[in-house]
């Protein structure tokens, strides 16, 4: 459905995209995972025909983003990174406006947005600017869907939104995917990668890896251990101590535990625990664990940097 090959784009001196290629299948929920400044927004803006690429090509449903931009604009639903609705118009007026802009009516495609819109319908006479973060998100999604697009492109829809609203939002995306809509979504939250069919990890304008979240985490080549400590103060000290241990490649705090990676044979659960015990830390729990997307991302970032 979406095909991007060797896409490059610079803003003056800054190279935002350094030759990106990817393909998104019809009906797929595809995630672009990466921090601010990775090039996610630039890629999306090229796809929705707002920017012209310097070189390379991109097509959506076989339509070229440069030459067939008018046709693409009819079939794509887009949610920019910032809240982009009219704050002085009410919920209903916003939806009505975007329906007419695309030459349709709310009624025609109400079935598409029903599940989402029903949650904000009680506030339909409230100005959009007075909605809470999660509700704004739902309204923006409704507005992007009201013309029944084939492809949805969502630029960081969950940034700055609380954990609950984020979870709800992903549930809605999942439902939409089952209705056959192709979705390209970007996010800086690594944990959201697992909710996508496939993801591209993107950093500094290059793609680090493209695959299903499962395969990506499987690809993690090193041994990974999770170290659990009892108190927060202990954690700080243990991070420092582990960094000094020979044979350890990286030490990072990871939620409640500390993740350490290693390629050395002689590093294992037992001797890491012993090491910390000998340094005076008790109640340590070390176990071999599966990598998460974030582990992979950091590993790839470090490789890239070297």
């Amino acid at each position: 459905m979406i095909k991007v090959s060797n896409l490059e784009k610079s803003y003056g001196e800054v190279k935002a995209l350094k030759g990106i290629s990817l393909e998104v299948e019809k009906g797929e929920l595809f995630g672009l995972i990466g921090p601010d400044g990775a090039g996610k927004t630039t890629l999306m803006r090229i796809l929705v025909t707002l920017l012209l690429p310097d070189s390379g090509s991109a097509t959506m449903d076989g339509l070229n983003v440069v030459d067939d931009f008018r046709k693409i604009r009819k079939m794509v639903g887009y949610m920019p990174g910032r809240f982009s609705l009219y704050p002085d118009l009410t919920v209903e007026e916003n939806l009505q406006f975007f329906a007419t802009v695309f030459g349709g009516t709310i009624a025609a495609n109400y079935h598409l947005i029903k599940d989402i819109y029903i949650q904000i319908e009680p506030f339909k006479n409230r100005p959009a600017g007075k909605l809470s973060g999660g509700m704004k998100q739902k309204l923006a999604l409704s507005c992007a869907l009201i013309h029944a697009p084939k492809v949805l492109i969502l630029d960081e829809p969950t940034t700055g939104v609380d954990a609950v609203s984020r979870k709800e939002f992903w549930e809605m995306l999942n439902k939409l995917r089952h209705q056959g809509i192709t979705i390209l979504v970007s996010t800086p939250y690594m944990d959201e990668a697992n909710l996508c069919d496939r993801v591209a990890l993107i950093q500094n304008g290059t793609i680090l890896s493209i695959d299903s979240p499962k395969n990506i985490t499987k690809s993690f080549a090193k041994k990974l251990f999770g170290v659990k400590v009892e108190t927060t103060a202990q954690r700080f000290e243990c991070v420092g101590l582990l960094k000094e241990l020979d044979g350890i490649d990286s030490v990072f705090s990871f939620g409640e535990s500390i993740h350490i990676t290693s390629n050395q044979k002689d590093i294992n659960e037992v001797n890491v625990k012993e090491y910390l015990n000998n340094k005076g830390h008790q109640g340590i729990l070390v176990e071999k664990i599966e990598a998460s997307i974030e582990d992979v991302f950091m590993e790839l970032m470090q490789n890239e940097a070297n």
């Binding site: 604009r73 406006f97 007419t100 802009v101």
Partner: protein
């Protein structure tokens, strides 16, 4: 068509829901008109003058009476000798000295010609010009009435500049100027700001990604302001007429045509500005400096174009309000029709086409 209507409807909702926009649209025109009409008028009241009458005959006495009873002047001193003139100016109280030549009445009767010298303090050239015009007007008026039956043309001094403003009412000058200013403010400034606001809020991104065409967006933005500007123009003309007694001597059709032409010109300027301005601030800055100041300073609205240095006179030719104000005065005050104002109409139309063409060309359907 539905798309366009939806867009226009949305624009009206924005306007009616924002108290500030409403104040700018309907409060400011009225306030501005009143300000220019009442406060910043250049009407002369009780200007202090001195008179040196070498003749002191019937005619000069009558003229003096007429001048001093007009309400515009107050007699500060009666001078006796020429050498008193300089010191009295230097003291600074007196703005104008009127000198009657010797044997004034005699000369007027015999030769039909007599000389009055008007000396004005030109350190404030505008006031000086004004005082002179007032004085001259009164003298002309006197001559006309007094010697109405004479066969020989009687002449005292004959340069009359405010021919179509015999009563010398400031509002006559300012109503057309205010109209030019207000229409520029509302049409150009408001459209450029509202388009820039969409860019600032990020909604422009969504509009661009929709199937809306450039003409939809431009027309959708322009139509509401065209309508509102017309209402404002009507309010200004109406208030000018009722409150300040500014006449509408020309045809209403010609007047309406002229106003619509000017509004269209201003709107296209507004769109042109919005193609370069990415934020409301920049739009405000550009429309403030690039449009408001020239409209006020270079259009002949406040400062007569003839008094400007040549370079500015040339520059003023490129200021659309100049042609609008001139045509407006012709239509409202003189009652002229297309036969007289066609050059102005032609120039304004050309400017409109130029701005429109440029902004359609510059309006980008992408972000860069």
């Amino acid at each position: 068509m539905d798309q366009l209507l939806g867009f226009v409807k949305k624009e009206f909702t924005h306007i009616f829901r924002d108290p500030r926009t409403m104040v700018i649209l309907f409060g400011i025109p009225i306030i501005q008109l009143m300000l220019f009409g009442y406060v910043i008028t250049t009407e002369i009241k009780d200007a202090r003058i001195a008179i040196l009458d070498h003749s002191n005959d019937n005619v000069t006495r009558e003229i003096k009476n007429k001048i001093l009873s007009s309400g515009y002047f107050r007699l500060e001193a009666n001078l006796i000798q020429e050498n008193e003139i300089d010191p009295i100016f230097k003291k600074g109280d007196v703005k104008e000295v009127i000198v009657f030549e010797k044997g004034f009445a005699e000369s007027l009767e015999r030769e039909g010609k007599a000389n009055i010298q008007v000396i004005a303090d030109a350190s404030d050239p505008n006031t000086a010009q004004m005082l002179f015009n007032y004085t001259n007007g009164i003298i002309q008026d006197y001559t006309k009435k007094k010697f109405a039956g004479f066969t020989i043309p009687v002449q005292i001094k004959s340069e009359v500049r405010m021919l179509y403003n015999e009563n010398m009412v400031g509002a006559f000058m300012y109503v057309p100027g205010t109209m030019a200013l207000i229409l520029m403010l509302i049409s150009a400034m408001m459209t450029s700001i509202t388009i820039a606001r969409e860019k600032e809020m990020g909604t422009m991104e969504i509009l661009l990604v929709s199937p809306l065409k450039a003409t939809h967006i431009i027309l959708g933005k322009v139509a509401p302001y065209l309508l509102l500007s017309l209402i404002d123009a009507f309010v200004v003309v109406f208030l000018g007429n009722v409150v300040f007694g500014v006449p509408i001597r020309g045809s209403l059709f010609v007047l309406a045509f002229l106003v619509i032409l000017y509004i269209t010109m201003a709107l296209s300027l507004g769109i042109l500005i919005s193609t370069v301005a990415n934020s409301q601030q920049v739009a405000l800055f550009i429309s403030g400096f690039a449009l408001m100041l020239p409209t006020i300073l270079l259009s002949g609205f406040i400062f007569p174009i003839e008094n400007m240095p040549v370079a500015l006179q040339v520059l003023s030719n490129f200021m659309p309000p100049r042609w609008f104000i001139d045509a407006l005065k012709q239509v409202m005050l003189k009652g002229n029709g297309f036969a007289y104002i066609w050059p102005n109409v032609l120039i304004l139309s050309a400017m409109t086409l130029f701005f429109l063409g440029l902004s359609v060309k510059k309006f980008r359907l992408r972000l860069e």
